[in-house]
Subunit: 711 residues, 2 copies
């Protein structure tokens, strides 16, 4: 893959000097040639006679297209005439195109008419690139031509892409039939297409001022991939660089913030109901063992702890300052933090960007940068870090230790995390409020949690990523080790941004999130409850060894619904090998059904559940188990729960760790049985056949997206 | 719309006599002409010279197609040559087509080559009909040609259809852009297309032996809709007619079954743990006030009630007999039931069709028919009907009375209904097990519940409809009065039925369910938990007056997620009128956001919730409210719940009934607040922003599908 950067540089510089933000057809062609992007032979004619001359040189049949910087959508302007077969037709077409352009837009500047060799017909695709406010340059491929809007079948990737990544993008097009050849047609050349995608991605990566590219249509055929029409939009005002400390700097700061030796409370208060009082109480009652330093303008002690007028008076070092004072006073105290080398400021107060007060937030951030202080918030509830018994928050304390770290951008979602955790006894390592994210962002948290031995799974509620590109980079590394779950809010908001190209118009921000998150191995949750349940269950589910899921059910009806759920959540129902089928049949009544689901039928004693679950766990061809329990007198709910836990525990002791989840249908006693199973690290839900399969599906998505599945 | 039935009759009769099950091209053409289905001028040539002759008569350009009963997919066989422009080309094409057919299938019988006027190019659609095992004749329209498999964009309707229904089908095609003219193309003639759909639907309705029709492609253009290729498959073995009593007969029988004056228990037992014991206890302890008649082979009394050796010995009339005896003994006792004019037999025993014992089930059914007894089951838990305190089941009793009737085909799902009901204190009128459905089916239940004053909403778990057509007929009538919810299990099962036409192949049974259920106003639930929550909430939610949904939230983060959920569940976020926006602003802090969601912000006192909820309920432009509560010290959960209930109650007393649902995020106290709201008929959920919107969405789907919404 060659590229001729100087020639592109020269064209872009000329265009900038000319004050233009889009390229002429000839310039587009030159850029394509510089990056080995195939385009048909072509020439720009400014008169009918010149058109005839060029036509003779290029050879018939020809396509003729109006070339005007003011007409971006040529089809709409009837600005394209195809299949022109001789010089007489060229002359007529030239006149027609000028007239049509005039009719479409009387003021349009006309560069001439582009004379182009007709492309070998093939599948019409679109390849393009655009600039996302969060992710920067993204490249796209999809079904194109007139089908672009109809199918909306397009896939995105951060630019630049490797050839492998480009191949994967081609494979991610939903309408694969088009690429394989429709009804006897030949398959397209996927390698040529992948090269084309790479070339486009390198072009926008090499030249940030290329804001949007559309190659539409690209004719993909067995012979190659040719861009029949090219449109390029420029933007010479690059976005500002984001502040990004090194990984080591982040780790040093985040370690001091999450595992501080001392915490100061700015605005500590003895008065019930005040935020500065709640924070102080939570630190004390939560069992934090480090030094707690109340800062109060007049008192000598607060809640029995020695207080200081100012941070400057505190004799010992302070790692974290939790702010419980009005927004307008923050900047001033932050200077004191700087003087005392505080690592992090937890800014609980609101009244910053979220209320329109952007300047105040920027001012505070500037002070923090000046002193090398990391900011959490502002406009947050604070954070919990259970390994340190640290409740640096005004919310109620929480102390159930466990392996899940959660963060939320919104306080409401933070409270839902807290309530759900308490209600389900979910063990957490951390709950962090990020609020306005003036500084500390999800990538900072991920960097810390990656190295945190007390965190196994990370779940994040996100409204926007300030820097999607650095998030993707960190998330890709972290999620290969620990599952990362994201609830991205605002996903259905209409992407109202005006866009001049198809690629940009199709790049509803949410679709880019979807593709990029998948590429970096993040499991996306599409609802608040899913995020919470995934967070709760993923640490309990071992990584599956393969795709074979087996359902064992006491209720045929549940079996059907569980199978529906497996298909819905992307799980593969194992095809039952005949010998295993026989083995199961030994345990179940003659009218039961082996196969998958294994239907042991409703009237069976505990041993039938026991034997079949054990067999499912022990046979190495089965990779995961989904259980459907049906409440009967013969095998009551707690009996089922206990026998299941025993069988699983016995296998776990032998080192046999296999994903297993359960759906329990029956009277209210099944709720207790589910709680019993959950306590023993087996996800189990009452009155639903979907939720247990959804959480198993989430584990599979994580394993698949990170290349951890064998097949 | 004319039709020439005799000519079709004659062709079909000839075909049957000839032992064929598909029609030749010329016969297809004749059928089309008989039903005013536009096709291009055409003739079947058996030699090259004849082809040239016909070509001259029809006029160029021509399409030429192989005509063979053994080559149904001509494109695959390369059996079509388009754009033939003179007699020399006709001769060559004729030879090529014969050779290609030979190469594709050496044994194919060749009828000749079809010479056809080239159709006016237009959008390629498919119109067809097929025969569904449950729904009978269905007609379909979708995007056709090579796009059929790629887009899979097709919509079904029970045949025959009215012109209005056909228009609605065209409007239900997802890729409407094709019909409106892609990129400057002209819109197709929708009326011509609707007529074509009607004609196809009448044709299959008039002639049941037409099993499948494919018109593919149909060229739809501004000028009309022309079927360029026609394929017809016949089946001369009609399915057996289903037994269908009249509505009055159903009502008389179902009334005696659900509201019996006396219930006999066949196999009543004094022994704990026996099914005949559980049923008897449940009848007694459930508080049933009618006569309870134990039938026991030897005892004179069971559990203190006088017992009889046989039904024949019982002096008084018996309405219902609940069977708790082995399957093989059922038929015999059923004769006794017949002698005593019992209206219904509730067949709890298993061991019938579900274990492969189809003959035994048919035998029992035959006895029932002979005596005019309706059968519930076999293989069921029985049923509950709370207005009569009737627990005719071996499961634990349930007595929370309410407006929801539920049925399930599976015992497991029945137990989930029971457990969920008890756990959520859901008021029910009935819970009915249908099991194998040898006789009583969902349409019988619907017919009863329609007239049942104690039932307002019906929710059904269904694995298969024995007679989808009669279900659709009844459901359409009932759901216009009372919401009908259906969980259709087995929806993702691969429709493995071999099909010879495209229409049939695309008619995955589940897609037909989806379309037909929507047409008859049924709200489909796609998960067990959704079915249960819809059943619980729909009676609490008044029918909305219009589409304007307004979100009022204390947590900005919840607001975004609630808005996401509204879009996902098909709800329309109201555009806030400026005067209403001003009115809301009076109640909220200056940095709060009016608009939609109305974000009152987190630190607000109860009055702010009170004032804004009241305003939302009172302004007539707002049709539904979604509340997002955020747990704070200033407005604790129960305070919010109480004020909300008060405001709603005050409006209800004034006759102002408006849908209102709530999402509560916060610590565990929000669970109690949700229960408080549910007790006051306001659906409210903790830790989820999706569920409350999903249930509201279900009510909207019902209202929309039944034409009950103003706009």
């Amino acid at each position: 893959m060659s590229s001729n950067r100087p020639s592109v540089r020269a064209i872009l510089d000329r265009t900038k000097q000319a004050g233009r933000t889009s390229l002429h057809a000839a310039e587009c062609a030159e850029l394509c040639r510089a990056y080995d992007i195939s385009i048909p032979s072509q020439a720009l004619a400014s008169s009918a006679s010149q058109a005839v001359k060029f036509a003779g040189e290029i050879g018939y049949p020809l396509a003729m297209k109006i070339a005007s910087p003011d007409i971006l959508h040529k089809t709409e302007a009837n600005g394209i005439i195809l299949n022109v077969i001789d010089s007489a037709e060229v002359e007529t077409a030239f006149r027609h195109l000028l007239a049509r352009a005039k009719a479409y837009n009387a003021d349009a500047r006309i560069d001439g008419v582009l004379i182009q060799k007709m492309a070998v017909p093939g599948v019409e695709l679109i390849v393009g690139a655009s600039t996302d406010p969060s992710f920067g340059k993204v490249v796209a491929v999809g079904v194109g031509g007139v089908m672009v809007e109809v199918l909306n079948d397009i896939t995105f990737h951060l630019a630049p892409v490797s050839v492998d990544e480009a191949r994967a993008m081609v494979a991610a097009i939903r309408s694969q039939q088009f690429l394989n050849g429709v009804r006897g047609g030949q398959a397209v050349n996927r390698e040529a297409l992948a090269s084309l995608i790479c070339a486009v991605s390198r072009l926008v990566d090499d030249f940030p001022e290329i804001a949007e590219i559309d190659l539409n249509p690209v004719f993909a055929s067995p012979d190659g991939a040719v861009a029949a029409d090219v449109r390029i939009v420029l933007d010479f005002e690059p976005p500002p660089e984001r502040f990004r400390p090194s990984r080591d700097q982040i780790l040093i700061a985040m370690n001091r913030i999450m595992r501080p030796e001392s915490v100061a409370i700015i605005g500590a208060s003895a008065e019930d109901g005040k935020i500065g009082n709640s924070v102080l109480k939570n630190l004390i009652n939560g069992g934090y063992r480090g030094r707690i330093v109340p800062i109060h303008p007049s008192l000598d002690s607060v809640l029995g702890l020695k207080a200081y007028r100012s941070l400057l008076d505190v004799p010992d070092p302070v790692d974290v300052a939790v702010f419980a004072i009005p927004a307008r006073l923050v900047a001033q105290v932050l200077h004191d933090c700087g003087a005392r080398k505080v690592a992090g400021a937890v800014l609980i107060p609101s009244g910053f960007a979220e209320t329109g007060n952007v300047d105040l937030q920027n001012e505070v951030l500037a002070v923090a940068r000046q002193h090398d202080i990391r900011l959490m918030g502002p406009n947050i509830y604070g954070f919990y870090y259970t390994p340190q018994n640290l409740c640096a928050t005004f919310c109620t304390p929480y102390d159930v230790k466990g392996k899940v770290a959660l963060s939320s951008q919104s306080g409401g979602v933070g409270m839902a995390i807290l309530g759900f955790s308490r209600s389900t006894k979910m063990g957490v390592s951390a709950i962090v409020g990020l609020g306005n994210k003036a500084d500390i962002d999800e990538d900072d948290l991920l960097t810390f949690f990656e190295e945190d031995p007390d965190t196994q799974v990370i779940a994040m509620h996100v409204e926007d990523l300030k820097d999607g590109r650095s998030f993707a980079e960190v998330a890709k590394r972290v999620s290969a080790r620990k599952p990362v779950i994201m609830l991205k809010a605002g996903r259905t908001a209409a992407g109202a941004r005006a866009a001049r190209s198809h690629t940009a118009a199709l790049a509803g921000n949410d679709r880019i999130y979807d593709d990029v998150l998948r590429h970096c191995g993040v499991v996306r949750a599409y609802s608040l409850n899913d995020m919470l349940e995934f967070a709760r269950c993923l640490p309990m589910i071992p990584t599956p060894r393969g795709e074979n899921v087996l359902i064992i059910t006491g209720a045929g009806g549940s079996g059907v619904l569980l199978a529906d759920a497996c298909v819905e959540f992307g799980l593969k129902l194992m095809t039952m090998p005949p010998d295993l089928d026989q083995a199961f049949r030994k345990f179940i009544p003659p009218f039961g059904a082996a196969g998958n689901p294994v239907d042991i039928t409703g009237g069976e004693p505990p041993t039938t559940y026991q034997n079949t679950i054990q067999l499912g766990l022990q046979d190495s061809r089965v990779h995961s188990l989904v259980l459907g329990y049906w409440h009967t007198i013969i095998t009551p709910p707690l009996v089922f729960a206990k026998l299941t836990a025993e069988v699983v525990e016995a296998e776990r002791r032998k080192g046999n760790h296999k994903p297993i989840v359960a759906s329990l249908v029956g009277d209210v006693e099944v709720e207790e049985a589910c709680a019993y199973l959950f306590d023993r690290q087996i996800p189990a839900y009452p009155y639903t056949t979907e939720k247990p399969v959804a959480v198993l599906g989430a584990k599979y998505r994580w394993a698949r997206n990170n290349g951890l599945l064998a097949n």
